[in-house]
């Protein structure tokens, strides 16, 4: 991630917002000066070593720093981990995502882990055990006092049992996690989903340091420590990539350990032994994959409607089980030979049909017309054009969830552009008629949705083999990024602006007159629009002199659209908007400081309604409303940033 000044400031402010002033000051200095030792930080920030040690320990505990120790050197170098700092602002989204996929109890555990930072499994289990015990005690007490508060807490039998069985009536008032077995299950689930990963020795190395260490290690194996010749260089590159991948897979060792004894009966005792010594933390990379799925579902919903988007969401869920990160690292994911590349993940129609909820009515969302009619026309249309690809039917691939490699190679050859035609295959539909009539119907409807998705211009889906579907994330996200840029331009300068940008994108660099002839606009309007867009950084100009003696009056001025520059410009403005929101929030806080300090008092907390005066209540309500608006704005802008930068 390119760390620009606004991004650095936003990260600093976010840390200040969540963890307080001391760490944010250190962080700001680290971002400003790059990697530093404690001594250098002391010189820069004017803090003493004790403060710095405390601040750095805090930052490390929350996984916001890299550190590195050169062999033989007494000084540790600390470096800011900007990705993690930025992702702090996404905590709300991540928690909501976890709740949606894994339930409220999992969200609770996740929240505790984000809050703690690096968490030892044993400590976490102890903490929850503590809370469970305490709650049981309180329940007993409550029962003894026979609910003197009348606040609706239903007391029920617990008697210190390790796992109280919630009755239907009392389930609402039950704690989220009522036993350690539940907790273990949740931890297992989250680790399995890769939302939690183990921390290992090199977790805190910055990518650059890691690469340097690995490179120097591998260089030593060559004679003279030098890599000579093209073949050796390619081999060397491959070795480095392999070492990096090996290092990366180490964080998944926790998952592997759990999978080895992952039988449900054993899960309860899973963390009693050596496993409880494991340290874990949140895996933002995987969280981003999940958030991307949600975003894609949102796009699909905009394009095709709800039912199709739900189908798409289930498909993405299946797909992303094997996807660990949104973007591949160019060095780590470098493969010398194409055969070594991991096969793209594929989902079959049957798999999808199995996971789809039966309550989901697939006939909805395919248009107002009769569902039968549409399926017939679609099948007929395709039957006329039997593409070459549809004839390879790999039975094994159908059966095997992880499709075999030959099949995938074939699948890769299918260009997304040809998908529209190669989709529905009449014979396949009839082939599938093995189960009951209703099932076939559902299957056909599902196929309709899938075909709809694969025919989209954005390329939501690719029909990569018989009954096999995959998503090409790179071109898809590029298309969506472009759509977002266009939307931003439209909101900023209006429709004519987008029109001109699209033209420039299609034609490349154009002179004024050429644009005029293509755009069919009045020159004055067009020039004004172009100048406006130039001001916002959406289009650029290039001056090409007509003669050797560059005369401004005689030069050509070529207008062009540069996607990367426009994207960076939008990102820059986005960061600044977020910074501004946080600054405004800070000012508001200062303004209402006396009220805010009042509600933090221990005698007022929780009973604001009784203890506060009316005027203070009004001020507080107003402040909370404004705070929500500002932070909500940050979240919205972050949605855009995520699409443009991270997904």
């Amino acid at each position: 991630m390119l760390v620009t000044a606004p991004l650095a400031e936003f990260c600093t402010l976010t840390i200040d917002e969540i963890y307080g002033e001391l760490p944010s000051r250190i962080y700001a200095s680290l971002l400003m000066r790059g990697r530093s030792t404690i001594q250098q930080l002391a010189g820069d920030t004017g803090m003493n070593a004790r403060q710095l040690r405390h601040g750095l320990a805090l930052l490390l505990q929350h996984n916001l720093l890299h550190y590195h120790l050169d062999a033989g050197s007494p000084h540790y170098f600390y470096e800011a981990n900007v990705e993690h700092a930025y992702n702090l602002a996404r905590t709300g989204k991540i928690l909501q995502m976890v709740e949606e996929t894994h339930g409220a109890a999992a969200k609770d555990v996740m929240q505790t882990i984000i809050l703690t930072g690096l968490t030892r499994v044993g400590d976490l289990v102890d903490a929850y055990q503590n809370r469970i015990d305490r709650m049981n005690r309180i329940k007993e007490k409550l029962k003894a006092e026979e609910d003197p508060f009348g606040n609706g807490v239903e007391s029920h039998e617990v008697n210190g049992e390790p796992k109280p069985k919630p009755t239907p009536q009392s389930s609402k008032s039950d704690p989220l996690i009522s036993s350690i077995a539940d907790l273990n299950k949740i931890i297992y689930k989250l680790v399995e989903a890769e939302l939690l990963i183990g921390v290992h020795k090199t977790s805190f190395e910055s990518p650059e340091d890691l690469l340097a260490t690995i490179e120097s290690d591998i260089q030593k194996t060559y004679p003279g420590g030098e890599v000579k010749g093209n073949k050796a260089k390619a081999e060397y590159k491959d070795k480095v990539a392999e070492a990096l991948r090996k290092n990366r897979s180490e964080s998944r060792s926790l998952k592997r350990k759990l999978e080895q004894n992952g039988l449900s009966a054993k899960r309860r005792k899973l963390f009693d032994g050596a496993a409880s010594a494991n340290v874990m933390c949140i895996n933002y990379e995987k969280c981003l994959v999940e958030l991307r799925n949600r975003r894609l579902m949102h796009y699909a919903e905009e394009a095709f409607g709800q039912t199709t988007s739900w189908v798409y969401a289930s498909l993405l869920n299946l797909l992303s089980k094997d996807i660990s990160r949104c973007r591949d690292d160019p060095i780590t994911d470098h493969y010398e030979k194409d055969e070594e590349k991991p096969a793209p993940v594929v989902v079959t129609t049957s798999q999808l049909l199995d996971v789809l909820k039966t309550s989901l009515d697939l006939s909805v969302g395919l248009g107002q017309v009769d569902a039968d009619k549409i399926s017939v026309t679609a099948a007929e249309k395709i039957a006329e054009l039997p593409p070459r690809k549809k004839f390879f039917i790999d039975v094994q691939a159908e059966a095997d969830a992880n499709a075999s490699s030959d099949d995938d190679d074939e699948g890769e050859d299918v260009k997304p552009a040809t998908n529209g035609v190669n989709g529905v295959n009449g014979t396949h539909v009839t082939n599938g008629v093995n189960g009951t009539a209703k099932r076939v119907d559902r299957r056909t409807q599902l196929r309709q949705h899938l075909l709809l998705l694969s025919e989209s211009t954005q390329g939501f889906l690719r029909h990569c083999g018989a009954e096999e579907w995959t998503v090409d994330f790179v071109p898809l996200m590029a298309a969506l990024r472009q759509a977002e840029i266009d939307a931003t331009i439209e909101n900023t300068v209006g429709r004519e602006g987008v029109r001109l940008v699209r033209m420039l994108r299609a034609k490349g660099k154009l002179d004024e007159k050429a644009i005029m002839s293509v755009a069919l606009m009045r020159k004055a309007d067009m020039s004004k629009k172009l100048a406006e867009m130039h001001k916002y950084g959406f289009v650029q100009t290039q001056e090409v002199p007509r003669e050797a003696k560059a005369d401004v009056k005689k030069s050509f001025f070529l207008w062009y659209f540069d996607g990367t520059m426009a994207l960076e410009r939008i990102l820059d403005v986005s960061y600044k908007t977020m910074i501004h929101s946080l600054q405004v929030l800070d000012t508001l806080r200062e303004k209402d400081q006396h009220v805010l300090s009042l509600i933090k008092r221990s005698d007022v907390k929780g009973q604001e309604d009784d203890k506060l005066r009316k005027i203070h209540k009004e001020k507080l309500t107003q402040f909370l409303k404004l705070e929500r608006m500002l932070l909500g704005q940050i979240q919205r802008v972050d949605d855009l940033v995520a699409v443009l930068r991270d997904y």
Binding site: E17, I18, Y19, G20, L22, P23, A42, D44, T45, G46, M47, N48, A49, R50, R53, H54, A57, Q61, Y76, T91, G92, L95, Q96, A104, Q111, L118, R120, D126, N130, R131, I138, N151, V153, S173, D174, S203, V279, N491, E512, K523, A524, S527, V552, K553, S555, Q593, S597, I599, K600, R601, S602, G606, D609, K617, T621, L624, R628, L631, G632, Q635
Partner: protein, 283 residues
């Protein structure tokens, strides 16, 4: 006379009288060269208060509201943790533009006798209810995976990174992780619609309330503030309670933020802790 109108009335008008904005625009932008339909440059001054069309964002969706709630509660829990450091109140001019790192740093050290607000600095009864402000994170009661930290930070994580720790009793309790009890942000009571902010069952709210009641049982504990929210959760433990009380006492004498000693002990405490009584640096 033609004034304030279209630019590009021909190229021969470059006299000294016309060396104004229009003239510059005429020569520098390519479209202005065209005399017929060059761009219209308005020579009028702009309005003092132009109509500013402020775009209003649409209201948050239900999902976004939920995400926001979770973020706010997360933030509240983080602020409640012993690792949160709250800044002392700043003077107004700390927001002024700073030139250079030295000036930025000086913003953070402006707590002295001269900047104390005489209206609030006097100890009053209600001060007991105020949240203790921490200037350094308190690591002493939390467990850490020390093997992943640089060795130079190990003492800090143990809560031993204190120059006066040898002379005075160390403030280390049992190292225990605790689950935060905070379940609401802002004034949950003020919410008109009355649903739980985080959508969780009301059990935990009851827990919070009962927590307070339990504290009321021992009046002292209640008055001591919320120190026992984290770390020491088992109230059965008599020793822990005693230690808590002792800590409380120590806190009074050995304030982390002792403004009076700011100038007396200006040096940073690299290793030397002798010489001055109670000599803890102030940060």
């Amino acid at each position: 006379m033609f004034r304030g109108g279209r630019g590009g009335r021909g190229r021969g008008r470059g006299g000294p009288m016309m060396g104004n904005r229009r003239e510059i625009a005429q020569n520098s932008v390519p479209w202005a060269i065209d005399p017929k339909d060059g761009i219209f440059i308005d020579g009028k001054p702009s309005d003092t208060y132009p109509v500013w069309n402020v775009p209003k964002p649409p209201t948050l969706t239900k999902k976004e509201e939920k995400q926001l709630d979770y973020f706010l509660i997360f933030r509240e829990q983080a602020h409640d943790s012993p690792l949160y450091t709250e800044p002392p109140p700043r003077s107004k001019d700390s927001r002024k533009r700073a030139y250079g790192q030295a000036q930025i740093n000086s913003r953070y050290a402006d707590e002295s006798k001269a900047t104390i607000d005489p209206f609030t600095a006097i100890e009053t009864y209600s001060k007991r209810f105020e949240r203790k402000k921490r200037t350094l994170p308190d690591f002493s009661n939390l467990p850490f995976a020390k093997e992943f930290f640089p060795t130079e930070l190990h003492a800090t994580l143990d809560g031993l990174d204190d120059p006066s720790a040898d002379r005075k009793r160390r403030r280390t309790g049992p190292k225990k992780l605790a689950v935060s009890n905070i379940t609401s942000y802002g004034a949950g009571d003020l919410d008109e619609d009355g649903d739980e902010v985080n959508g969780e069952p009301d059990f935990r709210k009851a827990l919070e309330l009962l927590d307070n009641v339990e504290k009321l049982d021992g009046e002292d504990a209640f008055l001591s503030g919320e120190e026992d929210e984290w770390g020491n959760e088992d109230e059965d433990n008599e020793d822990a309670a005693d230690a808590e009380a002792a800590d409380q006492y120590e806190d009074e004498s050995e304030d982390d933020y002792n403004a009076e000693q700011y100038f007396e002990n200006d040096d940073d405490d690299y290793g030397d802790d002798g010489g001055d009584d109670g000599g803890e640096g102030v940060f």
